[in-house]
């Protein structure tokens, strides 16, 4: 984590418990080496565009995937998604939305904005670990091919 340019996974999550659980789920799947956790949408964008406290970051470096909670302080997840998917340079980064429910309107909206996949955060942690493995691995591996 010292080297921002090594970050492979960007986890955008305001709930520290959820963030910890997500990290643990990644760890259990051996994906937790280069994870950066940010607490709101603005920080996520700062990192991605090398702004603010991430100004030193090489602007050309992109994480391999972004795990994005929708309900976020300041700039919410949908706005972050919209900005990324409208940016020709950033839109190739796979974005996986983490959501609490299967509320149809949310899911439909993220798809129209260009989300690559989504994980419903289940209450049962074991199921969450399974979901992270399936989807996270898929996109990480897919992205490595580029």
């Amino acid at each position: 984590m010292d080297n921002l340019s090594d970050i492979e996974i960007l986890l955008v999550e305001d709930n520290p418990n959820d963030a910890e659980m997500a990290l643990r789920a990644l760890k259990q799947n051996n994906l937790s080496n280069e994870v950066l956790i940010v607490g709101d949408g603005e920080e996520a964008l700062d990192y991605l565009y090398s702004r603010g406290k991430y100004a030193d970051k090489c602007p050309d470096h992109h994480p391999k995937i972004i795990l994005l909670d929708l309900k976020l302080p300041k700039v919410d997840g949908k706005e972050v998604l919209r900005i990324l998917k409208n940016d020709p340079e950033k839109k190739i980064i796979p974005v996986i939305v983490l959501t609490s429910s299967q509320e149809e309107s949310d899911i439909l909206e993220t798809y129209t904005l260009g989300v690559n996949s989504y994980i419903v955060k289940p209450v049962d942690f074991d199921n969450f670990v399974d979901a992270v493995r399936e989807i996270g691995l898929y996109w990480l591996l897919l992205n490595q091919q580029f």
Partner: protein, 723 residues
């Protein structure tokens, strides 16, 4: 003495008669006293121009004398015949003194009594031998004065086809004298005079008579100028009656030409001839008297003849009129003032139904009046007004039948102006009267009906007006209700929005702590397993199980709220296929082996397919769940239908339920079984009820403990396919 007396007598008579005529015909005084006439230049000795350029001739003298006798002054102008004829027709002159009366001219002018009759003659060159009658003229060329009655005669009688006209006879004679044509036809006397005057000697009149060409000469006036005509006739009568006419005639046609007589001659006459003359005069007076008597006798004879002829005409006319009256389509009658019939016609007897063969003249018809008093009124009225028009009388026929007649009568008076009788016509108007009365009755009836209908209509209008008011109140109420509904709807929209926000919040914020409870419970279990004994591990398990259960409750509640919020999109749904696919989806392999699922032929429903799937899912999973511990594992799905709705049912042979708890069945979070008997949140049937209710249907159930349950739901039939 006798002669003087005679002359005095004649003069007085003429004077009196002129005075009488003038007195009798006062309107004549109104005619202008100066008239203009026109004369021809060359029709001697009747009309011509003398050496001084003045109009002269017999007709001119006669006209002037007659005019003078009638009190008229005369201006004379000269013109050729064709022109002056035209002038009279157009009213440029008032009269012509010398016009032969022909049928053609009677259309253009009115003529006085004739004062002269002349015969025509054919004039030819001396030595002409081949013309001995009118027939010989057929192949000959005839020259005539244009517009002269000779021309009219020649053309009328078709004497010859070869006719030439000239402006004057002088011209005609000159051309004849030059041998250009064969003959001239004109008045014998005039022709001879004219030839003399212009000095032509090689032309002679032929001897044969032309009876068809006898011409009566008169004064002519413009057609319709009766006043002038009457005055000229009157003047003419006067000059004929006294000696003037005779004198004029003698002047123009007398045997000797008068010499100029000097004063000495007169003295000589007086001396030498006076006595013989006196004798001659005496003899002459006798002669004259005789002649006057002869003349008067002739005039009286003529008058008698005329009178007889008039009487004859009158008789003919009277017969004609009587005939007309007899055949009138109206009844005619003539009665004395006392009502005695003098005359009547056929229709009179017809109308009154009298015997046509009886003669009623001289009789009274006492029964004619239905009310004899009316006769007095009628007679009084006619005596007062002289005439009575369209007077209705109630009369009786001979057979006593009552009729109404319409009478038009007038009073006839005698010479002294005393009324002597009543004459009139009448019609039987009984039927017409009845028809009119009928018509009036019908009209009254119609008016009555119209009045009634109008009143009824008025009533209806009033009622309508009341209902209209009521309607207005209802509309006002409706408007209020609509406004309230709008308000409620707005509130509903608001609360739906709130509900949605709430549900969103629940799904995210309420679940996050649960995730933490479960997750960290798991981490505790994994990371500190060696430090926990069996009881500690069980506690962790209880925590995690409850977290999971709460999550399910939350999800079910979200589901229910979504049904409240979601729109319904109805389509035709194959219910059998849906039920079967749901069964195959939710039943696990073991259940599929154990259960006997029977889906009957069921009708399609008109509903929201997503929601109806949820209904079948909840009902089928209930049946599976509550049959799991029963021996008979059999589920049946079927339907019945009536006019308005289809009722679907699902029947199982599971644990069933006690009917006394039926109220709880469809309420949210209400359960009839313990958690450890059958898992569940108590939301499933509430969702089913909610969905069916939103489709306008009903849900109910029948059950018996340990024998099974049947759940029914109804869906209305599609009212209007395509909605």
């Amino acid at each position: 003495m006798t002669k003087n007396f005679l002359k005095l007598f004649f003069t007085m008579t003429m004077l009196l008669s002129v005075m009488f005529i003038c007195a009798d015909q006062t309107p004549l005084q109104a005619v202008k006293d100066t008239i203009s006439i026109a004369s021809e230049p060359d029709y001697p000795p009747y009309c011509f121009v003398d050496e001084n350029g003045e109009a002269a001739g017999f007709s001119i003298d006669l006209f002037l004398s007659a005019a003078k006798a009638a009190g008229l002054d005369v201006n004379i102008k000269i013109g050729i015949w064709e022109q002056i004829k035209q002038d009279l027709a157009e009213g440029k002159v008032d009269a012509l003194p010398f016009v032969g009366r022909t049928p053609e001219r009677e259309n253009l002018y009115d003529f006085t009594m004739p004062y002269l009759s002349l015969h025509g003659a054919v004039f030819v060159l001396k030595g002409t031998k081949d013309i001995n009658s009118l027939n010989d003229l057929k192949e000959k060329s005839i020259v005539l004065m244009k517009g002269d009655n000779a021309e009219e005669f020649v053309r009328r009688e078709n004497i010859s086809d070869n006719i030439v006209t000239t402006a004057t006879f002088e011209e005609a004679f000159i051309t004849l004298a030059n041998g250009e044509y064969d003959a001239v036809i004109t008045q014998r006397v005039m022709g001879i005079e004219l030839l003399k005057k212009i000095g032509i000697k090689n032309i002679i009149p032929l001897d044969f008579h032309i009876p068809q060409y006898r011409q009566d000469f008169c004064f002519a006036v413009q057609k319709g100028d009766m006043q002038l005509l009457n005055r000229l006739n009157e003047g003419l009568s006067i000059v004929i009656a006294n000696d003037t006419f005779e004198n004029i005639r003698n002047k123009w046609f007398g045997p000797s030409i008068k010499e100029k007589i000097s004063f000495s001659h007169i003295l000589r006459y007086l001396l030498f001839i006076l006595i013989p003359v006196l004798i001659i005069i005496a003899v002459g007076n006798i002669f004259l008297l005789r002649r006057e008597v002869r003349n008067k006798t002739r005039v009286l004879n003529n008058e008698i003849i005329q009178h007889k002829s008039t009487l004859k005409d009158l008789k003919i006319n009277e017969e004609k009129y009587h005939g007309m009256i007899m055949n009138l389509l109206e009844g005619f009658y003539s009665v004395t003032l006392d009502g005695i019939l003098i005359d009547y016609n056929n229709e009179f007897t017809n109308i009154l139904n009298l015997e046509p063969d009886n003669d009623y003249t001289g009789k009274n018809l006492p029964d004619f009046w239905q009310n004899p008093k009316e006769r007095e009124i009628y007679v009084n009225e006619i005596l007062q007004n002289g005439i009575i028009k369209n007077y209705e009388i109630k009369a009786k026929k001979a057979d006593g039948a009552e009729i109404v007649v319409m009478v038009n009568s007038r009073i006839i008076k005698d010479n002294t102006g005393n009324p002597i009788r009543i004459e009139g016509t009448f019609l039987d108007v009984t039927e017409r009267k009845h028809a009119l009365e009928e018509l009036q009755k019908m009209k009254d009836k119609l008016e009555n009906t119209v009045a009634k209908r109008t009143a009824q209509l008025q009533e209806k209008v009033e009622k309508l007006s009341k209902s209209e008011k009521a309607m207005l109140y209802i509309i006002e109420d409706l408007n209020n209700i609509t406004a309230e509904l709008h308000e409620e709807r707005r509130k509903l929209v608001d609360s739906n929005e709130e509900l949605e926000a709430f549900a969103y919040s629940v799904s995210h914020d309420l679940r996050a702590p649960l995730r933490a409870i479960d997750g960290f419970g798991k981490f505790l279990f994994n990371d500190y397993a060696e430090k926990l004994d069996a009881e500690g591990k069980r506690f962790i398990n209880v925590i995690r199980t409850n977290a999971a259960k709460m999550d399910k409750l939350i999800l079910d509640l979200l589901n229910l709220s979504r049904i409240f919020r979601s729109d319904i999109a109805k389509t035709e749904v194959d219910m059998g296929a849906v039920a079967e696919s749901i069964y195959l989806e939710i039943a696990d392999d073991q259940e599929k082996k154990q259960f006997k699922m029977k889906i009957k032929e069921i009708p399609n429903a008109f509903c929201d397919i997503t929601l109806i799937k949820q209904v079948w899912q909840n009902l089928i999973s209930n049946s599976l769940k509550y049959s799991s511990k029963s021996e008979i594992k059999k589920i049946e799905i079927g339907a019945t239908e009536n006019k308005k709705e289809i009722i679907y049912y699902i029947k199982d042979h599971g644990v069933g339920f006690d009917n006394k708890y039926i109220d709880k069945l469809f309420k949210v979070f209400q359960r009839l079984h313990k958690e450890d008997e059958f898992e569940g949140t108590g939301v499933g049937l509430a969702i089913v009820k909610r969905i069916i209710k939103r489709h306008g249907g009903k849900v109910w159930a029948e059950g018996k403990v340990d024998e099974g349950a049947t759940f029914y739901f109804s869906l209305p039939k599609q009212e209007n396919p395509g909605d």
